[in-house]
Symmetry: C2
Subunit: 476 residues, 2 copies
């Protein structure tokens, strides 16, 4: 009775991941995409990769906004040749260790949170099939990350696959009646829906790193960073703010809250990955809204579900430099961390000081590039190794976009910002040259031995505009 | 200090519509797109078209989800040659009258609410520049239709231009601080923002047609329609429902509410254009949610702003047949109206019985095509002219997708649904052949004179899949 092409479309449910892979026509050499909001608790990336291997599919380009510790099993598919390419913004130490041994022929593509979608929207990367983990979905593929027992909050990185992949598969462990009420990605983008027993381990979603530090060195650094904000000219009504989850970075929120209450300052928005500490600033009435691309803990997950002023935004809205604008274009203050920072303010967030590949840029290069004031917070020395070095092992973020380095023993301002340096000095802050911090650090530790690298390139590090910043070599 | 390509992007505000037109590079022959949620109160379509004319731009294809009575002034730009093409889902009677005189060389393209986005997503229509009316926006182009003095509710048809146009201009009379909190289209899609004094007349947004009828004939029809629903097998928990704004169609909500309360039935979703009567069903707890592409009155506008169960959806999510699915695929019952319906159940919603072009399909063909049960409600005779005719003046919706015609004197079931006819007859409803209704109508009015058309095609009527259904000729 109805027009033929429509008849029978009453559900997109298929029986299994394998059936979805088959229906999507996944073939050797394709690019398969994931989002990483389930963090260390993710089951979907592992299950799909194992299924691809079991089906004899080879030469897959694994495109995921993150490949964290929970994805360690994909090492098997890299070794077997199922996965021969990686495109991501951050990797867990286990995968990094294997990559550094040279188990993959092609170098891994390491991008920033903005560069990752930028490479797709700009046409450099073509996604064939995207798998979207959903803590809730309906049979037509409307999905979200806020309802269900494995709720993970914002699904900000899921929009990219939804919009740009040839085929889209929603994978959920919580099938709800049609139509799902809170809808992140809607059915118009989705081809198939798979119901699984569990999309992830809720305990692994909450990253262990999101705890406020009690380390007095970290607290000192955070206090100094707050002083830098206070005297930067940006500490005023309407200020926007982003911070990372590293010890001193996160601790800045504590002092920011005190200062805002004290001086009756009300900010506009908090941006980026969101933890309980950001939610506290919102609920305290100190900020108007949160723009959230990933939620780091249960309080953030509840908040984005229940508070209309806590908004989910796409990765492109967050940080894509190839859009007409992104939220970072409007960011005032960004607090970042560093494994190493060198005399040219270049920052390394990819290699441990002994040369092991771990982590990645995340939003580091994006925030540094965009924020009116980008502050690196770092202790001078970490585990008897200097953090301030002559030359970073990996140039993850170019020094020309870093404004200030705050350590426990002094504050170095990029020579390109003389007016800021003058303001901070006038306010009585312990401003110094970065060379002084370097000499102090090396004085404490001695000049460390540098790791020895071989010839094989195991990863390429790209800036947010997808220009090559550096290459990472296998350890000898 | 920051990387060059990012520097200075702190606002997309430009001084005027003319400046936005200039910056977008609008040239002769381009396709310029609008959404019609300001309905009869729209100022933006008129202002932009007048500006294009003043700038000497010609041969524009005017692509708008609607061109209602408030757009009457664009007749001037059609006559002057600024506008030489129209692509829409419905037009006001004044524009229709002029088109019927043959003032435009090319026929107007008349599509359905689903066919309109389908022609774009399928690549048949390329939008060069989209102007998005926004009752609130910020300086980076985040916009919505729910805040501000000219709030119009859902901006469901704005997504299309946002996603597919080469350039996107947001036009608002209510500039809010960045970041706008409730965000329909976000900044990543927007190139320029223009602040104007007023985007529209709030009084014109609320269409005069959205009033519950007191006409006893209409109420009788609505009661019969409710009886058809009740005995269709679809009147059960989880039922989904859509109705139009015509007299008998809207009145069905009154009887639906009574029946659902009486039998403790709870529906799933209400779809489509939304009025206070749909909101009442939601707030009475009789439906789980509303999926809204356009809001017809102030109560609907307040509801979509304040009630998280009243969801804004895109035109594609509503009705685009070229997406993996749309909400209509899940619709149970759709109530529609008709200017004429013929012995083959074909429906005319484009031409008055005297041959004047007015209105258009809107979602008519989409709902008829998709709903498990599509019911046309219509009086047998309207203004001494039969509504049931031998052959419609325009085939707006093909009869094979219409299930039932309900009139005040009898219910005709499409011969393709014999089981439904049997069920309704068994329930004691006044079921008859459509030929009987035709004979009764003509017996009351006599066989009317048909209007006389000339040779010139003034409009082409497309089904939702953008196949040609009919052509409309100029009146002689």
């Amino acid at each position: 009775m109805k027009i033929a092409h429509k008849s029978g479309m009453s559900s997109k449910l298929v029986s299994s991941l394998r059936e979805a892979i088959r229906l999507c026509g996944i073939k050797d050499g394709m690019t398969i995409s994931f989002h990483h909001h389930l963090r260390d608790g993710d089951y979907i990336i592992n299950h799909v990769c194992a299924e691809l291997e079991a089906m004899g599919i080879r030469d897959i380009n694994l495109h995921s906004s993150g490949l964290l510790q929970g994805c360690t099993p994909v090492i098997n598919q890299i070794k077997s040749g199922t996965i021969t390419g990686i495109d991501t913004t951050g990797i867990g130490a286990n995968i990094g260790k294997e990559l550094a041994k040279g188990i993959m022929k092609k170098p891994a593509m390491m991008r920033t949170h903005g560069g990752f979608p930028a490479a797709v929207t700009h046409g450099d990367v073509k996604i064939d099939v995207a798998f979207l983990a959903a803590s809730s979905a309906d049979c037509m593929g409307n999905m979200n990350g806020v309802d269900g027992s494995a709720a993970f909050g914002s699904a900000g990185y899921a929009f990219l696959g939804a919009q740009y992949a040839g085929k889209v598969v929603v994978v959920t462990d919580n099938l709800m009646d049609y139509p799902l009420k809170a809808c992140t990605v809607d059915e118009t983008f989705v081809d198939y829906v798979v119901k699984v027993d569990a999309i992830g381990d809720p305990a692994g979603i909450e990253s262990g790193t999101v705890r406020l530090t009690k380390d007095p060195v970290h607290l000192r650094i955070a206090q100094y960073a707050m002083s830098v904000i206070r005297h930067s000219g940006l500490f005023q009504n309407g200020m926007s703010f982003q911070t990372g989850t590293g010890g001193p970075s996160l601790a800045v929120t504590k002092y920011l809250k005190e200062a805002m209450l004290q001086e009756s300052i009300k900010g506009s928005f908090i941006l980026g990955g969101v933890s309980a500490y950001s939610v506290d600033l919102l609920e305290s009435g100190l900020f108007e809204t949160i723009l959230d691309t990933q939620s780091f803990d249960q309080r953030a997950i509840r908040s984005i579900r229940d508070n209309p002023n806590h908004q989910e935004i796409s990765a492109s809205r967050y940080a894509n430099p190839f859009m007409p604008s992104c939220a970072l274009d409007s960011l005032d203050v960004g607090i970042l961390s560093a494994i190493e920072i060198d005399l040219n303010f270049n920052v390394n967030v990819h290699l441990s000081s002994d040369g092991h590949l771990m982590g990645g840029s995340g939003g580091h290069g994006d925030v540094a590039d965009s924020a009116k004031l980008s502050i690196i917070t770092a202790p001078l020395v970490r585990a008897r190794t200097p953090v301030v070095v002559d030359k970073v092992l990996c140039k993850s973020t170019p020094g020309e976009v870093v404004d200030v380095l705050v350590t426990e023993l002094g504050i170095a301002v990029n020579p390109g910002r003389p007016e800021l340096r003058a303001d901070l000095a006038a306010a009585g802050l312990p401003v110094c040259d970065i060379e002084e911090l370097y000499r102090t650090a090396v004085g404490l530790t001695g000049v460390p031995c540098k790791p020895v690298f071989g010839d094989k390139v195991v990863a390429q590090v790209y800036h947010r505009t997808n220009t090559l910043l550096d290459e990472i070599f296998a350890l000898v």
